[in-house]
C-alpha cells in the first residue's frame, strides 16, 4: 500500500468517524431533547395515543309510589343490526344440539330461524338480512328494535355473522295504565342509546332521573387490544335518583276505575277524580276516565295524554259557592245561623237570578242556603261583600293561577279582575259561573277549608332516593292562610249540612261524618253553553278531616235524573278511609238547621 492510498484511507476513515460522531451527537441530542427537555409532552402524546375513554351510561332512576311500588323503571333492551357486506354463501356455526363441532347452514334456514325468534315474516326479514336484487350491500340494517335479552341470546345462537346486538335502555311501566297521565312517557335520545322524558313527570323530573355519565380510561396497543397491566382510571356513573311520589297506586287504581266506570255510565266526555291529603296537601291519587298506558302513549287520544284534572278548566258551578260562603263568614258579614228570606227569584241591579226549581219563599239559615244550594240565597250572601273582596278571596284560594305539580300543561283557569266583571258576572261568580278552574283547584280549595283555613300547595313528589339509599326532600310546599280557623270550622259544619239534609244526601259513607258540596256547572263550547259538568267535593271524616275527594264528570249524556257522581265519591272515599285505617267518627253531626223554625222538611 503506497502512501497516497494510505492517506485516502485515513481520510475516509476520519470522515466516517466524523459522520458517526455527528450522527451520534444528533441521536444524543434528540435523546436529550426527548428525555430531558420535552419529556412530559412526549409522554402525554404517547399516553393520549394509547388511551381510550369509554362512557359508562348511568341507569335512569325509577319512579315509585308512596309504598315503593315500581311505576316506571328502565330495562336493558337490544337493537339487532346486521352488516350485509362481505357475507359468505354459507354460515358456519357451533352445533346447536350441545355436541362439539360446527355445522354449515344456508341463509334460508338462518332467516327462517331468525324469523321464528323475532316473530317476523321470513320474506320481509330476508329483505333486510340480504341485499336485494344486486343492490349494494348496506353496512347497517336494523332487523329488530328493543328486543329482550332472552330474544337477543336466541338470535345470537343462530350464528349469523356480522349480526350485532346494540345495547340500549328502555323505559317500562310495570303497572300499565296506573297513574299513566301523571308519569308521562319518554322518547328516544338523539343517539338512540337511551331515553329522555317527553311528558309528565318523566319530563319534569328529567334532571333527577337521568343521572351522570361515568367514564373508564383504558390503554390499548397499536393493534387495538387492551394493554392488560396498565392502570385503569374509572369514574363510576352516578345513577339517576328514584323519584318517590305521594301517589298510592292502589288508591289511584280505584280512582281510575271509578272514573272510567262513571264515564261509561253516562258516556261523558271525561271524568276525573282527585284524592288529596288534608293535612299535607299531598296528592294521593288522580284518576282520569281516559287511560294512558305509558308503554304505548300513541294509543291514547292526544287530548288525554295529560291528566284532565290539571289541564281542563271548566265552570265549576255550585262547588264554587264554598269559597264565597267562606269569604262572607270570614269577613263577619254573615254567620252560619244568619236568617234570610230566600225567594225563588231575586233581581239585583236589573239582573234577575232564578233558582232552577221554583220553590216557595223560605226563611232559611245561611247554612241552609248552602245545603240546598240556592242561587238566590247565595247572591244575597255574596252581596254582603264587595266584588274586590270576593275576588281577593278567590285568588287566595288559588283560582286564576296554575297549580304546578311537576306536570306540564297545568291550566290556570280563567278569573277576570273584578273591574272587568260585567253586570251579570259579578253575581254569577258567586255560584261558580263566569270563571273557570280545574278539578285540582277544587280539591285545593276544599283542602284549605278542611285544614283550618290553611292552603298547602298540592304536591306530587314525596322525595328523591339517592343511590346510597338516602332521601333528598323536595322543597316544602308553600302554605298560605286563606281563612281563619273558626271560619274553617264553620265551613265544615256547612258542608256536613249538604250531606245531611241538602243536595248531597247520596254522598253519605256509613260510619263516617262526611261533608262536601255538590256542583253543576255549564260547559261552554264555541257554540255557547251546550253541556254540563257535575262535581262533588267532599271531606272526611269531619271530626278530624283527613282526605279530600273531588269527583267531576264533564258533559254526560243521557238521562239527567241519574247524573250524579255520588257513587264515584263514596266508592273512592270509603276505599281511602279503609286503606288508611281511619277510625270511624265517634262524634255527632254538627250540621245546622236548614230552615228557620222547627219544620225542616220542606219541598225543593
Amino acid at each position: 500500500m503506497n502512501s497516497t492510498a494510505l492517506e485516502t484511507a485515513k481520510k475516509r476513515m476520519r470522515f466516517l468517524l466524523i459522520l458517526s460522531l455527528a450522527a451520534l451527537l444528533a441521536i444524543a441530542g434528540r435523546l436529550f431533547w426527548v428525555q430531558g427537555i420535552n419529556a412530559s409532552t412526549v409522554a402525554d402524546a404517547a399516553q393520549a395515543d394509547r388511551q381510550r375513554e369509554e362512557i359508562i351510561a348511568p341507569t335512569r332512576g325509577s319512579i315509585v309510589d308512596r309504598k315503593g311500588t315500581l311505576l316506571s323503571v328502565s330495562v336493558d333492551r337490544y337493537d339487532l343490526v346486521i352488516d350485509q357486506r362481505d357475507q359468505r354463501d354459507q354460515i358456519r356455526r357451533a352445533k346447536r344440539d350441545g355436541t362439539n363441532g360446527s355445522e354449515f347452514i344456508g341463509w334460508d334456514q338462518a332467516i327462517q330461524e331468525l324469523a321464528e325468534i323475532l316473530e317476523q315474516n321470513p320474506e320481509d326479514l330476508a329483505k333486510s338480512v340480504q341485499p336485494q336484487d344486486d343492490a349494494k350491500p348496506k353496512g347497517y340494517v336494523v332487523l329488530a328494535k328493543g328486543v329482550t335479552p332472552e330474544v337477543k341470546n336466541e338470535v345470537m345462537e343462530v350464528g349469523i355473522p356480522r349480526l350485532t346486538p346494540l345495547l340500549r335502555s328502555e323505559r317500562q311501566y310495570p303497572q300499565g295504565v296506573i297513574a299513566g297521565p301523571l308519569l308521562g312517557f319518554v322518547r328516544n335520545s338523539e343517539d338512540q342509546t337511551t331515553v329522555v322524558g317527553a311528558e309528565g313527570l318523566e319530563l319534569s323530573q328529567e334532571e333527577h332521573l337521568k343521572g351522570t355519565n361515568g367514564s373508564r380510561k383504558i390503554e390499548v396497543s397499536a393493534d387495538g387490544v387492551r394493554i392488560p397491566v396498565t392502570e385503569v382510571e374509572e369514574t363510576p356513573a352516578v345513577n339517576g335518583q328514584d323519584v318517590m311520589l305521594t301517589i298510592d297506586s292502589d288508591v289511584n287504581y280505584v280512582a281510575q276505575r271509578e272514573a272510567e266506570k262513571k264515564q261509561k255510565e253516562f258516556n261523558a266526555e271525561w271524568v276525573s277524580v282527585v284524592v288529596q291529603e288534608v293535612k299535607t296537601g299531598k296528592i294521593l291519587a288522580i284518576g282520569d276516565s281516559a287511560q294512558l298506558d305509558p308503554n304505548d302513549p300513541g294509543a291514547t287520544d292526544p287530548e288525554f295524554r295529560r291528566s284532565v284534572a290539571i289541564t281542563r278548566a271548566f265552570e265549576p258551578g255550585s262547588t264554587g259557592k264554598a269559597a264565597i260562603f267562606a269569604a262572607a263568614i270570614d269577613q263577619g258579614a254573615v254567620t252560619a245561623k244568619t236568617e234570610m228570606r230566600v225567594p225563588n227569584k231575586v233581581t239585583v241591579t236589573r239582573e234577575t237570578i232564578h233558582d232552577s226549581l221554583p220553590h216557595a219563599t223560605y226563611d232559611m239559615t245561611v247554612a241552609g242556603i248552602f245545603a240546598r244550594s240556592y242561587n238566590t240565597g247565595t247572591v244575597m250572601v255574596g252581596n254582603k261583600l264587595s266584588n274586590k273582596e270576593r275576588y281577593d278571596y278567590m285568588r287566595k284560594f288559588g283560582l286564576g293561577s296554575p297549580i304546578y305539580l311537576g306536570l306540564n300543561g297545568a291550566s290556570a283557569g280563567q278569573l277576570a279582575k273584578p273591574e272587568n266583571w260585567d253586570r251579570r258576572q259579578q253575581y254569577t261568580t258567586m255560584f261558580g259561573q263566569g270563571y273557570s278552574q280545574t278539578v285540582l283547584h277544587t280539591a285545593s280549595i276544599f283542602q284549605a277549608l278542611a285544614n283550618g283555613g290553611e292552603l298547602i300547595a298540592p304536591s306530587l313528589i314525596e322525595g328523591y332516593k339517592n343511590e346510597d339509599g338516602s332521601i333528598t326532600k323536595p322543597e316544602t310546599p308553600k302554605t298560605t292562610r286563606v281563612v281563619k280557623k273558626t271560619t274553617s270550622k264553620e265551613m265544615l259544619k256547612l258542608m256536613e249540612g249538604v250531606v245531611e239534609s241538602g243536595t248531597g244526601t247520596k254522598m253519605k259513607i256509613p260510619g263516617y261524618r262526611v261533608g262536601g258540596k255538590t256542583g253543576t256547572g255549564q260547559a261552554a263550547s264555541d257554540k255557547g253553553y251546550d253541556g254540563y259538568s257535575y262535581s262533588f267535593a267532599g271531606v272526611a271524616p269531619l271530626d278530624d278531616p283527613q282526605y279530600v275527594v273531588v269527583a267531576t264528570m264533564y258533559r254526560p249524556q243521557g238521562s239527567w235524573k241519574n247524573f250524579s257522581v255520588a257513587d264515584t265519591f263514596t266508592e273512592v272515599m270509603s276505599h281511602v278511609l279503609n286503606t288508611y285505617n281511619v277510625p270511624p267518627s265517634s262524634t255527632k253531626s254538627e250540621s245546622y238547621d236548614v230552615f228557620v223554625g222547627k219544620e225542616q222538611k220542606k219541598p225543593w
Partner: protein, 258 residues
Amino acid sequence: MSQRAQRRVLKTAAMTAQPVVEGSAARDVRPEPVAASELAGNDPRQRVTLSLVPRMNETNKRSMLVMVIALVLLAFAVMVTLVFMNTSVAQRQYDIVSLRNQERALSQENQALLKEAQSLSAPQALAKEAKAIGLVAPGAPGLVDLSDNSIKKSADKAVTAEGNAANYATLPLPGQSIREKADTKKSESKAPAPTVGQNSKDESKTSNEASDSKDSTKSEAKEEAATRKVADDGRPVFNDSELNGGTIPAPMIKSPTN
C-alpha cells in the same frame, strides 16, 4: 507464592518451637530470634510473594455445577413465572369480561322477573284474578264502640259474585294494549250491550239467566233515558235553557228582556 511464605513461616515456627534448653549448649543451638518487624527492614528487596490459585478439587467442581444448574433453573423459573403471570393477567381479562356479562345477564333476569312480579301485582291484575276466583268487594264494615261495648253499626253483607254489579276488572292489564280495548269499545258502542252482563256470561254459563234479566233491566233504563223529558218522579220538569248552573238540577240567571 504462598508455599514459599508458608515455608518461611514454618521455618520461624520451627525455630520458635525448638526447645529453649537442650543440654548445656542451650544458647548456642538456638538461633537468635528475628523480630518480625525488622525482617522487612533487614531485607528491603524481598517482594510480596505470589502464589498459585489452589487447584480445583472435586468438591469445588460439584458446587460449580450446582450453581450453574441453580442459575439456569432460576432463569427458567423467572421465565415461567413471567409467562404464567402474563397468561393469568390475560385470563383475568377474560374473567372480568365473562363476569361482567354474567352480571348483566343476572341483572337482566332480575329486571325481567321484577317486572313480571310488579305487573302481576298491579291492582287491575289482582282485581281480575280476584274476580276470576269469585271474590267480591266487602260491604260496609261494622262498627263496635269499645268504650261501651256496643255495636254502633252492623256490617253490610257483601254482594255475591252473581248479583254484584260492580265490575272491578275494567282497566286494561299491564301489557294489554289500550288500542285493542278502544277497538272493542267502538264496536260495543254500536251495539249497546251492557258490559256487565257480557262479562258474567264469559265467566260462568250458570249466570246466563241472571245476566239476561240484567240485560232487560238495562234496556228499560235506556228507554227511560230516551223519554227523560216527560218522565217525572216528584221533581218538576223543566227545559234545558233553565238548566243554568247551580246544583242538580242547575239553577239559572236571566237578563231582563226589556
